[in-house]
């Protein structure tokens, strides 16, 4: 449980009761960390820090009203309000206590003694979770390979400002959500320089089959796979036996890599000889699938997982879990196979012998 009114909380401090202060993504990372699953370390900037910051960029408390009086169809007005509010949030100086808390945590993340700036990912962690999460996700921004104190503070402000992006505002207006309920956590998480990365579903995305684990993987950072910018390799593993059911190795033309001079990420071509090589070894596929199953067990339902693999020289590769959320597409259309259990256990054979076969 995060300390009351703390501006930051480490993943390992978070519990299920912290959704309101940390947001769903941070709580989920907290749960995974607590379960002993290898998650890159990080912290969340809480909603308490956000509310404190609001006093800096909205001292008169007029923003809420400005948004709530917008018509749901008034695109032009929405655009103007969005531009103005984003600029305000992005440029406002942070209250000293908030800034101090964020930076102290960042230094801890870099290593107490280290002068080196650790690369981090800065992402929003919305508090309007679950039901609306699926559609709310993606409306906020994610900043990758952020390095240095100024860059971190800037990314945090831009995350908050993304709450006032046009789609974000339009979304809240469409659902008539009160602005006062709106708040956001921001996750700052050490970043993995991935050799390969991708997404893992703990059921078949094609048929919904819950006995399979489907892994999409490509070279470099996972953003290329998540953003659909590359046709990834596909591995399908039997959840029960761990056997590889099938695999498709694709021609992976590009990859996302950290931009070490400016921060952020860059797209680059994959070297010719590497393009059609499998981006995961058989052993890595197995380890990932085992991890997927563990996470699914932990949550008690099918998961949609982002992961990355790091290569440190010749040493065994390390798998990191970046994110896990409940699978929603198939889970929402689950139907029962059996209405009533047959009183005569033999009568089930009538499904084969008792009616003309149809597809």
């Amino acid at each position: 449980m995060a300390a009351p009114h703390a501006h930051v909380a480490w993943f390992e401090e978070l519990g299920e009761g912290d959704r309101d202060v940390a947001g769903g993504k941070a709580v989920s990372l907290g749960r995974l960390t607590a379960a002993g699953i290898r998650v890159p370390p990080g912290y969340v900037i809480t909603t308490s820090a956000f509310r404190q910051a609001c006093t800096a960029f909205d001292p008169a408390g007029t923003i809420a009203q400005a948004v709530e009086t917008l018509g749901t169809d008034d695109e032009a007005a929405c655009r103007a309000v969005s531009a103005e509010l984003r600029a305000r949030v992005e440029s406002a100086p942070l209250p000293a206590d908030v800034e101090t808390a964020i930076l102290a945590a960042y230094r801890t993340l870099c290593g107490a003694e280290s002068a080196e700036d650790a690369p981090v990912a800065v992402r929003s962690s919305a508090t309007m979770e679950d039901g609306s999460d699926a559609s709310f996700a993606g409306l906020q921004d994610t900043f990758l390979w952020v390095r240095g104190e100024a860059a971190v503070l800037d990314a945090v402000r831009r995350c908050w400002a993304s709450l006032y992006s046009e789609p974000s505002i339009a979304y809240r207006r469409r659902l008539r959500l009160p602005e006062s309920a709106m708040a956001m956590g921001v996750v700052v998480q050490q970043m993995v320089d991935a050799r390969s990365a991708g997404v893992m579903f703990t059921r078949s995305p094609v048929t919904g089959d819950v006995s399979l684990i489907a892994i999409s993987s490509s070279w470099g950072l996972g953003s290329a796979v998540v953003g659909g910018e590359v046709t990834p390799d596909e591995f399908v593993v039997n959840k029960i036996t761990g056997e590889l059911a099938r695999q498709t190795i694709s021609d992976k033309a590009i990859r996302h890599v950290p931009n070490r001079t400016t921060g952020g990420t860059t797209e680059e071509p994959v070297p010719q000889e590497q393009r059609e090589l499998a981006s995961l070894s058989g052993d890595e596929v197995k380890r990932l699938a085992t991890l997927g199953r563990e996470i699914e067990r932990h949550y008690g339902r099918a998961q949609d997982i982002e992961w990355a693999i790091c290569q440190n020289g010749d040493a065994e590769t390390e798998i990191f879990l970046l994110q896990s959320r409940p699978e929603t597409v198939w889970s929402s259309k689950e139907t029962r196979l059996v209405e009533t259990v047959s009183a005569n256990p033999f009568a089930n054979v009538l499904s084969i012998f008792g009616a003309p076969r149809k597809e």
């Binding site: 094609v206 590889l244 029962r336 256990p345 009538l350 012998f353 076969r357």
Partner: protein, 603 residues
């Protein structure tokens, strides 16, 4: 039933092979293609009949289809399916299932089916115990048939004990008894089988609904039993190998010795040799009554007829035991694995009703499994090889009396013609003149042998007639590996690519050198560490399973015996590829993926 543009020749369009037209009369008229057959879909039953069928062996198509159809259509009154029709075209057996599609007819059959089938399921173990007794009575009755030798003068007892029956009567009577016993064996064969498969298929379909991408292999792994009669012969070899080491007679077993030489050498080893030989005699009856093929042809002899396979197996096992390896199948681990897989799939089901239904269905599968697997040993292996041996004895009588040049030639006559030849012999022996058959049969035999050789060069189309849009027949899928996709793939001309697809029947990936084996006689050519490529894998090939890395077959499904044994040995298997023996050449390097069912020719 909707039909798609036809991609296979019609039965009537298949041309007879030049020079075989007269010989084709060897097959009974009811196996010939008629005009009405063009409307139906047929497929080549290459799983049971991978080679052209000699005239006598056509009984192994006739007898099972007499029985299978009777159980479906008349005994258990299966609502949706009747029997299986068969045709013999250029020596190959094609079959076609007869479905029932009229809802009124189906509805009228359902109550009869429920009453009858549920009775059998309910009393399964009791009835199966009865079956085990009656099959043994039948086996004893086949083995006890004495083939009369037609003496110059009848034994005095015929006169002085007032028996009043001459041997030529028994010649006919005993042949009829042998035929009747064989037909009866096939009645017993199907008594439980269709219901047993129904239980499997019900469970398979349910799993398919619950887990749309589940493989037949995975379902089979939940169902398959660990202790079955079919695995017993190979287990006996392992026990005898261990006993050879224990008694110190193992030195007699060397690779370059024949079975007879090994036996003679063991005999010289005093008490130890006697002890081993006693155990050997006990094991071989009944457990060596396993066919080196699958019992569908007269030349599928059993281990007792030809001891080469069991002795080379024992020699290998002795070498492995000396090297410190254990031979016992890990039955406890296999049982645990089976239970664990089932428990975990069960756990993934959405609710209690599904789990209860899963339990009912899997429970029924486990109830029927022992029969479904064990009957093969008693029927196709023991009874069939004993029957063909008995027919050989009639062949000897015919040869001795000049109707045949060689006793094996009896198999070039169909079962009705053998009856005629025996009647001819009975008459001529009675008349005291040479039989007419001495001139009649030898040229016919020669003509048929030549025709069989020509048939063997023909590549039979995998199917004939219009392909139904949907051939989701689970029986065809499980046993023959036939699906709509497979048929489409077969219909396409063999591709130039280096990949073949079939059923992943036993998981794992290996690479190795191919050894293409088209029939049993070539089985001895298989070398350690090769990948066996064959038309169909016979159950009794288990002793070489320890020697090969993987197996690939043209025909076969994930519930076939080969699949079960391959899984027991942890050996990758891809079955039902359609063309493997045509596409792959001995010596080529292959990768076999028994999980996904892909075979890649690496060159």
């Amino acid at each position: 039933m909707e039909t798609r543009t036809r991609s296979f020749p019609l039965p009537s369009e298949v041309e007879p092979i030049a020079g075989t037209e007269a010989a084709d009369a060897m097959y009974p008229y009811f196996t010939k293609v008629g005009p009405e057959d063009d409307a139906r879909f047929w497929f080549y039953n290459g799983m049971h009949f991978p080679e052209p069928i000699p005239a006598f062996d056509a009984i192994t198509a006739e007898a099972p289809y007499i029985s299978l159809g009777a159980y479906n259509t008349r005994v258990f009154v299966i609502p949706t399916v009747k029997g299986i029709e068969h045709r013999i075209i250029n020596g190959r057996v094609y079959i076609s299932a007869i479905p029932i599609t009229d809802p009124a007819e189906i509805g009228a059959r359902v109550p009869h089916f429920e009453e009858r089938a549920f009775y059998y399921f309910g009393k399964w173990n009791e009835l199966y115990a009865q079956w085990n007794e009656k099959i043994k009575v039948l086996l004893a009755s086949i083995e006890s048939i004495e083939v009369p030798q037609l003496p110059e003068f009848e034994d005095k007892a015929v006169v002085f004990e007032g028996r009043g029956i001459a041997q030529n009567h028994y010649l006919i009577e005993r042949y009829n008894r042998a035929i009747e016993a064989y037909l009866l064996m096939w009645q017993y064969h199907f008594e439980f089988l269709v219901l047993g498969y129904g239980a499997y298929l019900t469970f398979f379909e349910f799993c398919k609904k619950a887990f749309p991408e589940i493989s037949v292999q995975m379902v089979a792994r939940m169902v398959a039993g660990v202790d079955t009669a079919m695995l017993r012969p190979d287990d006996e070899l392992k026990k005898l190998a261990a006993l050879a080491l224990e008694t110190g007679v193992d030195g007699s077993f060397t690779e370059n010795r024949s079975a007879a030489q090994i036996l003679a050498d063991v005999e010289t080893r005093g008490g130890a040799g006697a002890r081993w030989l006693a155990a050997f005699e006990e094991a071989r009856r009944p457990w060596f009554n396993i066919s080196t093929g699958d019992g569908f042809y007269h030349h599928h002899r059993n281990w007792n007829d030809d001891l080469a396979m069991p002795f080379s197996g024992m020699t290998r096992y002795i070498a492995e035991l000396r090297a410190g390896r254990t031979l016992e199948r890990p039955t406890e681990r296999l049982k645990q694995e089976r239970e664990q897989i089932a428990a975990e799939y069960r756990g993934l089901l959405p609710g209690d009703a599904e789990r209860a239904t899963f339990d009912q269905m899997l429970g029924l599968c486990h109830l029927v499994f022992p029969f479904v697997e064990d009957h093969k040993f008693y029927c196709e292996n023991w009874a069939a090889t004993s029957f063909f041996n008995k027919i050989r004895e009639f062949g000897m009588v015919l040869a001795r009396n000049g109707l045949l040049a060689d006793s094996e030639d009896i198999f070039q006559l169909n079962r009705y013609e053998v009856g005629m030849a025996l009647a001819d012999l009975a008459l001529s022996w009675a008349s005291g003149v040479p039989a007419k058959g001495t001139r009649h049969w030898p040229p016919i035999v020669a003509e048929r042998k030549a025709a069989l050789a020509k048939f063997a060069e023909w590549s039979p189309p995998p199917a004939l007639g219009p392909v139904p849009e949907n051939i989701q027949d689970p029986l065809l899928l499980m046993l023959w590996g036939i699906t709509s996709e497979q048929l489409q793939a077969w219909a396409a001309p063999p591709s130039e690519g280096s990949e073949l697809r079939g059923f992943g029947a036993s998981p794992g990936v290996v690479e190795g050198i191919a050894r293409v084996v088209r029939n049993i006689d070539e089985i001895a050519s298989v070398r350690e560490g090769e990948i066996l490529v064959c038309p169909v894998t016979a159950p009794s090939w288990a002793p070489i399973f320890g020697k090969i890395k993987a197996t690939v077959s043209d025909i076969g499904g994930a519930m076939s015996h080969a699949a079960i044994v391959a899984r027991e040995y942890g050996m990758p298997a891809v079955l039902g590829t359609g063309h493997a023996t045509k596409r792959i050449k001995t010596g080529q390097r292959l990768r076999v993926d028994g999980t996904s069912g892909v075979v890649t020719i690496l060159e």
